[in-house]
Symmetry: C2
Subunit: 254 residues, 2 copies
Amino acid sequence: VLTRAETRLIYALQQRKARETKGLFLAEGVRVVEELLRSNIDLDFAAISTSLEDSERGVHLRRALNERCAVHELSDRDLNAQSATEQPQGVLVVARVPVHQLEDIQLGERSAVLVIDAVQDPGNLGTLIRTADAFAATCIAVLPGSVDPWNAKVVRASAGSTFHLPIVQTGGDSLFEWLHLHKHEVWGADLQGEDVSAIARPDRVALAVGNEGAGLRVETRARVDRTVSIGMAGRAESLNVAVAAGILMYLITR
Amino acid sequence: VLTRAETRLIYALQQRKARETKGLFLAEGVRVVEELLRSNIDLDFAAISTSLEDSERGVHLRRALNERCAVHELSDRDLNAQSATEQPQGVLVVARVPVHQLEDIQLGERSAVLVIDAVQDPGNLGTLIRTADAFAATCIAVLPGSVDPWNAKVVRASAGSTFHLPIVQTGGDSLFEWLHLHKHEVWGADLQGEDVSAIARPDRVALAVGNEGAGLRVETRARVDRTVSIGMAGRAESLNVAVAAGILMYLITR
């Protein structure tokens, strides 16, 4: 069972403010927690439901958790009541947010940085993190005004990439200074931008993608070296932000 | 106000079964309904909240609705109670599902058909429809086992493309026969497929994408001409299905 303080902590961590103050987040569900265990993120404690060990996969998971943190057992109903998402699927872990600073990012000869500029939808941000990880991005930089990357829905939609790819939460000033210092050409995704297929790809690129409705913020738009668009022959005016970023990251990194 | 029968109908249309039996669906929210009005889809009736006309956009919308169907006014609270999604945003329309048959699809010299094979998430299917529309796909073919394309969440995620791009709901037998008859090379998206960048693009292609967890179904996999994958240098094992389809549709149609 959980102590009252632990129960209160889990509940509090559904709010961004508490996650930021405490530097902790919630990971929920078998797949997500399996991915978490593949990282070296510090785990605080885990809550599992009694039915988790009905499957062999659950038995393995519990054993792996035991080696990393305290594991508390709850009834299925009590665990569901704790969950921030719809289905915790038998397991929930309180873990420490890994803090990455721009100064610590390792840069190779080639580099692709994905910049998140006020993306609001948790599913979109999770998918963006997953996509950046798939295309070996250097890191993801999350600017103010974006959904919290440690929101449980973002973590789930990222399919584990939140734990593997460095996520840097930073202001625009430090970010753009760092990008220029390290010779990144900064591209902003914009429907009125130059067709990406006509642009030579520099060795180091940062791609900024903006809000689902409004696009890039004015202050970000003012600081990109160029805006780029994806040629589309059809009727839909725009692409979903994660799809657009996927196409651009594919072209930038191949 | 709504009659009891209309209230019951709206409630029933939250279920796939009722949508299929009655051939009707729900469109909710200002943006979605504005897009609906740009199509020639038959509208049955509309329910709007009293506050819709607080904005000029709402006044315009109401006027446009008046010309197409009966419009009933409800309190904000009553309209919210009717909604299938979280926020109907002041307007909800019951409309007729446009039925498209393969035989009626117009084919040009080039053609790209997107085949949906057991995609489950409404947000993913909506994004797939939006993406196919952006890249001027010939149509979307939805195979059994997929989420209903007329689900309100799919309609909303498609950003209006559901109303513009022909959606054909069909069995695999008829579909693959039609695709071969009309000289489409059928590609299946699969992590173990050939790298798409090494494949010449035929004039007519059908791209099949599968379930979020399991990929293409066995029966679909057996019928594709080749499987294709997207080269990825990073750690994430796979891409979100809508992101993967976006990259492939971009490459196929450009």
